[in-house]
């Protein structure tokens, strides 16, 4: 990946501001408690949370990159996969087998979505496909709950949730967050390998770059769509497992899509690394803001701050940090 110069400049400026603003705030206001170890503790906590956002954003990126569809149903897919996994597990299927079954179900789901929804709508405008994925969202929400019920379910993978002190006992990091970040990291790296070194992965990239070209070298679009939706389904399952063991498997899981959107615009809709770096920036940014800026204006700013942060980046890079440049010609 080649990073453009101005992207680097923006990133550097952002990093600098992220440290400078809390520091100044601490100097200016007595409400705000600033110490470097605490700052790093918040920043690291934010980065780890950001990885969890990336996990959801990644699903969006995969589908948008290969088919230009803004998949509103990614959140519903996260919920559906987690519900299926826990539901199967409750029926007595051992967890590893339940994961295998759920993977298979997500692939079947991808095939069905391609046949029933996407194929009849091929070549329609983006907003129409977007709306169709909203239809999928409603359907999956209803379907998943019909099958598995609306009660909250515990998903315990045995990951410890205990505070650990690092760097001479100065900085507290939660073990669960570390493990989650590790798993997300592994997923991202394997996806990167998938795109770089497998035939299908290269084909997917070809489609993303140029639909016509991809068709001309003999890759049927419908296969591509099935594959990306299946991969996005698998990513959804991983996100569902991680978020599900954090929050419990319940309807609210579908709401995490809203946390992924600022990540998506910041990183760019079409970039896998963008989703990761976007997640890190949003995660760290919103936590730092909540801790070091919010006390001055009343708190609870995390949500809109993430969007404002993304918006600020867009003013400099309208296509997101790593998104493809939109070139307009006449």
């Amino acid at each position: 990946m080649r990073i453009e110069q101005d992207v680097l400049k923006i990133l550097l400026a952002a990093l600098l501001l992220m440290a400078a603003i809390p520091w100044t705030a601490g100097k200016l206001s007595s409400d705000i408690f600033f110490e470097w170890p605490f700052f790093f503790e918040v920043a690291i906590g934010g980065l780890l949370a950001g990885v969890m956002y990336s996990l959801v954003a990644l699903g969006f990126v995969l589908i948008f990159k290969a088919s230009g569809v803004f998949n509103f149903s990614q959140g519903a897919m996260v919920l559906f996969s987690a519900l299926t996994l826990v539901g199967l597990n409750e029926l007595g299927v051992p967890i590893w087998l339940a994961i295998v079954f759920t993977l298979a179900i997500m692939v079947v789901l991808a095939v069905v979505i391609e046949r029933v929804v996407l194929r009849p709508l091929v070549n329609q405008e983006h907003i129409i496909l977007f709306m169709a994925t909203i239809g999928i969202t409603y359907f999956l929400d209803g379907f998943g709950q019909t099958l598995w019920g609306s009660e909250v379910k515990l998903l315990d993978l045995g990951i410890p949730n205990s505070p650990g002190l690092y760097f001479g006992g100065q900085i507290l990091i939660n073990d669960f967050d570390l493990v989650a970040a590790l798993i997300a990291g592994i997923l991202v790296i394997s996806l990167a390998f998938f795109f770089q070194y497998t035939r299908i992965g290269r084909a997917l990239r070809a489609v993303a770059d140029d639909h016509q070209a991809a068709l001309s070298i003999g890759i049927p679009l419908k296969h591509i769509w099935v594959i990306v939706w299946a991969v996005a389904g698998i990513v959804a399952l991983v996100a569902g497992i991680m978020w599900g063991s954090k929050l419990g498997v319940q309807f609210s899981l579908a709401l995490i899509a809203l946390k992924a959107l600022p990540v998506l615009i910041l990183g760019g809709f079409t970039s896998v690394p963008g989703a990761i770096i976007g997640g890190l920036i949003i995660g760290a940014g919103e936590k730092l803001a909540e801790v070091f800026i919010a006390p001055m204006i009343g708190g609870g700013i995390e949500d809109w701050f993430a969007y404002m942060l993304a918006l600020a980046f867009l003013v400099f890079r309208p296509q997101g940090l790593f998104g493809e440049k939109i070139i307009e010609r006449v």
Partner: protein, 441 residues
């Protein structure tokens, strides 16, 4: 789209409207009971047991006594999914059903409660909000159709501080203590703030607020501030849905002792503790009803309903959940009001207005509670025209890893202070809405 298809749909519409007329004629001399529930949607885990408890109590009366005084109860649920739009629709759909309409509405949601405030006055249907809604509706002079027994948020906040004072060896020892409030950043979550501020200035503890944006999936920053920076002596929580479990987990993640973490009743559902797992052990919560299923009423429900396969919940084991007991309590309050109304107006289905009359005089005594097998499960309630709340007491309970255990007796809030706060707030509302307080002499 063909003409034929349109024709079919017109016929279908005609058939359906015919059926509506038919079904409306069915209900004869039974008492209609409408129940707004949320068995679906993001908050369903807490809504399902409530709905089950409510339904079970109504069905218990039908199965055991043939209804109330021979008037059979006809229950109809409407699913709001905790969505205000749907809730209003449900209310309007149900309010005229049966021969006398809905006798009272329990919307189970702050949003729906607010949306119905004007409507219930026009429809003369009592709005009973047990442990939620507008605290100042305790002033029955200004809110003739709103009832808030057995407890309000303001009272809840006061009770929590009372409990903390008790733990610390008296109100005098609160001075200099740090107490934080983590709340759902909405109308509901903000309710206790004024009370806590008033108490803080009175007893000299340091009070800080931590809003969590809806829906509260992410609270890392909040808990780093609380657990690593402020390090308060106690944390109170006004949380909702998924926010509760997340808060408890994050509290564990920053090592804040769960024993010093006290939630309001809506942060004390069994469903909230499940996803938190081990982290929830030791966490405390206020409850305005008793916990567990070792009460007479539960035994009757089990024998009359579950053993005959008629129970509403998945299994009889679910009947002890706190949300279930809350549902029981709401049904109990409603049916007691119906009894009161029937004593005045005769044994037939009651209208909302008649039930409101009875609610103004509701008197659930300790003896009555013993009679129905709910001694210790519910607190006695006595309402009047001016007082729509009652004593407003609650208990403190603690999660032992698998169930709630009561760790205090009923705690009574500062009645005089709160009453003057209710009256001031209600008066402001009355001024804004141009309401003339009714005469309660």
């Amino acid at each position: 789209m063909s003409i034929k298809r349109i024709k079919t749909s017109i016929i279908a519409a005609a058939v359906i409207s015919g059926l509506i007329g038919a079904s409306a004629a069915l209900a004869a001399d039974s008492q209609f009971v409408g129940s707004l529930v949320y068995r679906t949607g993001p908050y369903a885990p807490g809504g399902i047991p409530w709905a089950d408890g409510f339904a079970d109590y109504i069905e218990l009366l039908n199965a055991r006594d043939g209804g109330i005084n021979g008037v059979k109860l006809e229950l109809e649920e409407c699913d709001t999914a905790y969505n205000t739009d749907k809730g209003v629709e449900c209310y309007e759909r149900l309010k005229n059903k049966g021969s006398t309409g809905m006798p009272a509405v329990m919307p189970l949601s702050t949003g729906i409660t607010y949306a119905l405030l004007d409507r219930v006055v026009a429809d003369k249907i009592p709005l009973i909000t047990s442990g939620y809604g507008r605290a100042d509706a305790a002033d029955g002079r200004i809110f003739p159709y709103v009832f808030v027994p057995p407890a309000t948020y303001w009272g809840g906040a006061d009770i929590a501080i009372n409990y903390i004072a008790n733990q610390e060896g008296g109100y005098g020892n609160l001075k200099g203590k740090k107490i934080a409030l983590v709340y759902h950043d909405s109308a509901y979550g903000k309710e206790p703030i004024k009370t806590l501020q008033a108490l803080a200035s009175q007893y000299g503890f340091q009070f800080s607020e931590f809003p969590v944006p809806h829906p509260g999936l992410e609270q890392k920053a909040t808990w780093l501030k609380i657990g690593r920076q402020l390090r308060p002596d106690y944390v109170l929580m006004w949380g909702w849905g998924v926010m509760n479990a997340t808060a408890i987990k994050e509290a564990a993640a920053v090592g804040f002792p769960r024993e010093k973490f006290i939630g309001v009743w809506w942060s004390g559902n069994d469903a909230d503790m499940i996803p938190a797992g081990d982290a929830a052990k030791g966490y405390k919560s206020l409850q305005f009803n008793g916990v567990g299923s070792d009460f007479g009423v539960h035994k009757q429900i089990k024998s009359e309903l579950y053993e005959k396969g008629k129970g509403s919940a998945k299994s009889a084991e679910n009947t002890g959940e706190v949300a279930y007991n809350r549902g029981l309590q709401s049904a109990f309050i409603l049916t007691e009001a119906l009894r009161g109304a029937m004593a005045e107006y005769g044994n037939k289905p009651m209208t909302g207005e008649q039930v409101a009359w009875a609610m103004d005089r509701l008197d659930i005594s300790a003896d009555r509670l013993k009679e129905v097998g709910a001694d210790g499960l519910f607190d006695p309630i006595k309402l009047s025209c001016a007082d729509h709340l009652g004593k407003g007491r609650a208990k403190v309970t603690q999660w032992d890893g698998s169930k709630w255990v009561a760790i205090s007796d009923w705690i009574e809030p500062h009645a005089t202070m709160l009453r003057s706060m209710y009256e001031a707030s209600a008066a402001a509302y009355a001024k804004e809405k141009g309401i003339t307080p009714r005469d309660c002499k």
